[in-house]
């Protein structure tokens, strides 16, 4: 057996993280241990989406690419807060300086220095913002824009400021300007070039963009040079003069208390230079097509690397390099030979895309443009001299055609006879056959063929499936509409009806059905199927409609109009077990129960000979009840103060809690109290799938709240709300929706979140897949729930209030109504004869079902 090899990764940004992820996924960790040193205090996060941090200021975790900071594979170890200071290539070691907390020995290691061996070293140190040598750049109030810490500092400084200026009108500069606008500052952008985004846009596109940006209140100064940053210790303004004028020419001052430098980035290649590895003239560690330096044990990837002498300042090429190195270490053939520098993004709410030969530098290239100054749309196509091939283009204001156009460039697909149709407004629906090798997701290098393979061979049926299978659409998300179209096209082409209808009886989706029921006020299945369906329904549409009716009304599910629509579990208010018996699960809110009630459960179980087991939801299941026994068992329980636990329903199950601040010496909030309140608030809510919640009293998270559809974790200041978690076959961690909420706000957000889910999810869709499938994902949920962008908040809360007000215990109501009790008999003509097929044996002092003999096929019963 060969000895395990050790890979040391320097840097845990997006690319370092991707390397570790790929190492796990592709099996490199079978033979290699991976240690990643990150110098920031937190694990890798989405720097591309940095501005969205302002939406939820205490939610740095919302951006995290590795929430929790630990890889599932124990052979990958992440060490944060640690700086690699030296590489010894001869000894194959790195020297690491960590603060004492990271190595655990506070007394002897005040800032520990440790030395680590490597067999393979991967440099992923990224880049640093470039600060031009302007006089006054060290004053208080000057910042760069790259890390969450930078943003925190800018936010703090903005509190006392009225205006801010961004130096640099490129991609990042406009992102930074967006940040300043969100902080409420009077915002200016100064750019040396005559237009914004000079690298990506031509003049006409730049002008269109300026018009959009200025509409948002940002003042744009193009073709100006920064002479000096004015002020004493702190910034008061920026002195600028027109580009092209001599020194001493008239200047003007842009008043600002905050200055953000966003004038480009420089590769962080110092470690490599210090150990005599070659760097490119414009920075970046020189590497070959496998991203290997001159030293065969050392690789460099991402913004710190310069494959073939060129540095790439985008995340997609960095990801590609990470994959190439993992491939190389597995003796694969992968190479990195350049990258598609196409970009599509939303800047300050404006769609901007630039791809291929956007400036028509190819000999003989022709340009086709479409501009609509009124609506602020500019589109340009660059085509080959013969008009047959698309070479590149620019889109501002409407980039919807990007998904079709960019792959046409990389694939060389022949243009249609009237290429202008591609950018004229009416053509937005034009579908063009894309060749298989066309790259659909440039962030993760996923081609059309990869997506079709996932759909045709790997059983993917939805965007969410394809995301999981191929990673397409998981970084910037701009290709998601294309992915969706490809999936639909594929199913149409193989003759599989892309029918999003529920079943053969309804062509409507659950969401459409929900709306139809709400609009018409239907209360009976017959009315719904007559108006909107065919036939007499089935085990798919009937329970779905029963659930929709239950969500919209507060009538008992066993009322005559809906009783026969219920699935067997709901029909008998219990979970059917393999031998036809049912389980009995009384609600124990938050898992808190008195000794008296525990004794009642014990007595009932003993008297009816039921099997008892403690569940993961902190309550007690009683198994083996015959259907006809259910009313008597529940009578005992209801009389003792219990109510239905809805273990049988697609509805709220439990809200699990840890013991919280009442007893636990670490707890910071009363988690049990909140869990009980939430469980009682949402009990009985019928939903597209079962719902589970959790509340933890501190960050130790003993209630495992992030494994639930909604999880609440106490902070010193209030509660953090996480959504979209579940266990089961496809576990998902809940993600942060909003942080440090007071209890009232928390409840109103939860009301909105749950009702939004109940209204719009598909049948049997858990919250995690529902969020994944929403266009915009979690961000969309945040817009609706937190920002109330649809203005639906009050309506959703009112619906929840109606549910809460109309709640009544289903079992108590059933026991009080002889008509509802009629169904609980073994045989209609022999109510005293128990079902003879049910029999039990004893195992570990409790009953266990004996499997009923399977009936020979076709034989009489």
């Amino acid at each position: 057996m060969t000895k395990r090899q050790r890979i040391v990764v320097v840097g845990h940004g997006m690319v370092g993280h991707r390397f570790a992820q790929a190492a796990v996924e592709r099996g490199l960790t079978e033979t290699h241990d991976v240690v990643v040193f990150g110098e920031e205090p937190r694990a890798a996060y989405d720097r591309v989406g940095l501005t969205s941090w302002f939406g939820h200021p205490d939610g740095a975790e919302g951006l995290s690419l590795l929430p929790g900071g630990v890889y599932d594979d124990p052979r990958v170890r992440l060490v944060l807060d640690s700086v690699v200071t030296e590489i010894d290539r001869a000894a194959r070691t790195v020297t690491v300086v960590s603060p004492p907390s990271a190595v655990g020995d506070l007394l002897s290691n005040p800032g520990a220095v440790t030395v680590h061996d490597y067999d393979v070293l991967v440099l992923a140190t990224g880049a640093a913002p470039f600060v031009p040598p302007v006089e006054g750049r060290g004053k208080d109030g000057c910042f760069v824009y790259r890390t969450i810490e930078d943003l925190e500092a800018i936010k703090a400084a903005s509190e006392a400021a009225t205006s801010g200026v961004v130096i640099g009108g490129g991609l990042l500069g406009l992102e930074a300007a967006n940040a300043l606008v969100q902080l409420g500052l009077d915002t200016h952008v100064v750019e040396m070039a005559p237009r914004l985004m000079p690298v990506q846009l031509d003049e006409a596109a730049g002008v269109t963009l300026v018009r959009h940006v200025e509409k948002l209140g940002v003042k744009v100064h193009t073709a100006v040079l920064t002479e000096e940053i004015e002020g004493g210790d702190s910034v008061t303004g920026l002195r600028v003069r027109q580009a092209g004028t001599e020194e001493g020419a008239p200047t003007e001052v842009v008043e600002a208390q905050v200055v953000v430098f966003s004038a480009g980035i420089r590769p962080r290649d110092a470690l490599a230079r210090e150990c005599d590895l070659a760097t490119a003239p414009r920075g970046g560690v020189l590497v070959d097509e496998q991203c290997r330096t001159a030293d065969p044990h050392v690789f460099a990837i991402g913004e710190c690397a310069a494959p073939g002498g060129t540095m790439y300042g985008l995340v997609a090429p960095g990801y590609a390099m990470a994959e190439v190195v993992v491939d190389a270490l597995l003796d694969g053939p992968g190479t990195f030979t350049g990258a598609d520098m196409s970009t599509k993004l939303k800047l300050l709410g404006v769609d901007v895309a630039s791809f291929g030969d956007a400036f028509a530098t190819t000999e003989g290239a022709l340009e086709l443009t479409y501009a609509d100054a009124v609506s602020g749309v500019y589109k340009k196509l660059v085509v080959s001299e013969d008009g047959r091939r698309l070479l590149g283009g620019i889109l501002v204001g409407d980039a919807s055609a990007y998904g079709i156009l960019r792959p046409m460039v990389s694939s060389g697909l022949a243009l249609p006879d009237n290429p202008e149709q591609l950018i004229l407004p009416a053509s937005s629906g034009v579908q063009l056959g894309m060749p298989d090798e066309a790259q659909v997701c440039s962030c993760n290098d996923v081609t059309k063929a990869d997506i079709l393979h996932a759909v045709a061979e790997q059983g993917c049926e939805s965007v969410a499936d394809v995301k999981q299978c191929t990673r397409a659409g998981t970084t910037c998300g701009s290709c998601v509409p294309t992915v969706k179209n490809l999936i639909e096209e594929h199913f149409a082409s193989v003759g599989k009806v892309v029918d999003k209808g529920l079943c053969e009886h309804f062509r409507l989706t659950r969401q459409e059905l929900f709306d139809v029921v709400a609009v018409h006020g239907y209360r009976r299945f017959d009315d719904i199927v007559e108006a909107h369906g065919t036939g007499r329904g089935c085990d798919v549409c009937k329970p779905a409609i029963a659930s929709i009716l239950a969500s919209q009304t507060s009538t008992h599910i066993l009322e005559p109009a809906t009783a026969e629509l219920q699935d067997t579990n709901d029909k008998y208010l219990g979970n059917i077990q393999r031998n036809g018996t049912y389980s009995v699960v009384p609600r124990i809110p938050g898992g808190e129960i008195t000794p008296e009630k525990l004794i009642v459960i014990g007595e009932v179980a003993r008297d009816y000979g039921l099997y008892t087991k403690i569940t993961g939801g902190q309550r007690i299941d009683l198994f083996g009840a015959r259907m006809e026994q259910l009313p008597a068992i529940w009578k005992r329980l209801v009389d003792a103060g219990f109510e239905s636990g809805h273990a049988y329903g697609k509805s709220l199950r439990t809200v699990k809690s840890c013991v919280g601040s009442t007893w636990c010496r670490f707890g910071v909030q009363d988690s049990v109290g909140l869990a009980i309140a939430l469980e009682l608030r949402y009990r009985g809510l019928r939903s597209p799938h079962k719902l589970k919640g959790g509340v933890s009293g501190c960050a130790r998270e003993c209630a495992e709240a992030r494994g639930k559809d909604f999880g609440v974790i106490a902070t010193e200041k209030g509660w953090n709300l996480y959504v979209g978690g579940n266990g089961g076959a496809t576990p998902a961690h809940a993600r942060l929706l909003a942080g440090d909420l007071d209890t009232e706000t928390l409840v109103s957000y939860l009301d909105r979140f749950l009702m939004y889910y109940v209204r719009t999810a598909d049948r049997l869709q858990r919250t995690s897949t529902w969020i994944e499938q929403l266009e915009g994902g979690l961000e969309r949920v945040r817009e609706v729930v937190v920002d109330d962008s649809l203005g639906l908040g009050a309506e959703l809360e009112a619906e929840m209030a109606r549910h809460v007000g109309g709640y009544a215990d289903e079992w108590a109501a059933t026991l009080a109504d002889p008509a509802k009790l009629e169904r609980f008999v073994s045989f209609v003509n022999a109510p005293d004869t128990p079902d003879p097929t049910i029999a039990f044996t004893t195992e570990r002092d409790q009953i266990q079902p004996i499997a009923p003999a399977l009936i020979p096929v076709g034989a009489p019963a």
């Binding site: 026969e564 629509l565 699935d567 036809g580 097929t837 009489p860």
Partner: protein, 112 residues
């Protein structure tokens, strides 16, 4: 035609919920008796052949194409109420019984 002398009277037709079912004991065997939307009554064996549990009367009654069906509450296979044939597995069926309604009383006869 049902043999009225040997048939078992199981319940009043009104005891069977519309588009629902009940279980009855006929000569010691469990029979599921259903009433469909058009008012007609059907009887098939109550034991679900896929699980062995005596539960078909608790399934959801509806239609598949033209066929009136019940879907097993256990694993959801559909059975044609008129014949007992499983529509999801042609090799499986449950017995189908003669059934008749006389003066509002449901009579279940022998296996067809």
């Amino acid at each position: 035609m049902i043999d009225l002398v040997r048939a078992t009277a199981v319940c009043a037709v009104a005891d069977i919920p519309l588009e629902g079912g009940v279980a009855a004991l006929v000569d010691g065997l469990a029979v599921a008796v259903f009433r469909t939307h058009d008012g007609s009554v059907h009887a098939i064996g109550n034991v679900d052949p896929f699980s062995g549990a005596s539960v078909l009367s608790r399934g959801i009654v509806g239609s598949r194409g033209e066929a009136p069906v019940v879907s097993s509450p256990m694993y959801k296979q559909a059975f044609d109420l008129r014949t007992g044939a499983c529509l999801d597995d042609a090799s499986v069926s449950v017995p189908s019984y003669d059934v008749s309604v006389v003066d509002g009383v449901v009579l279940v006869g022998g296996v067809r």
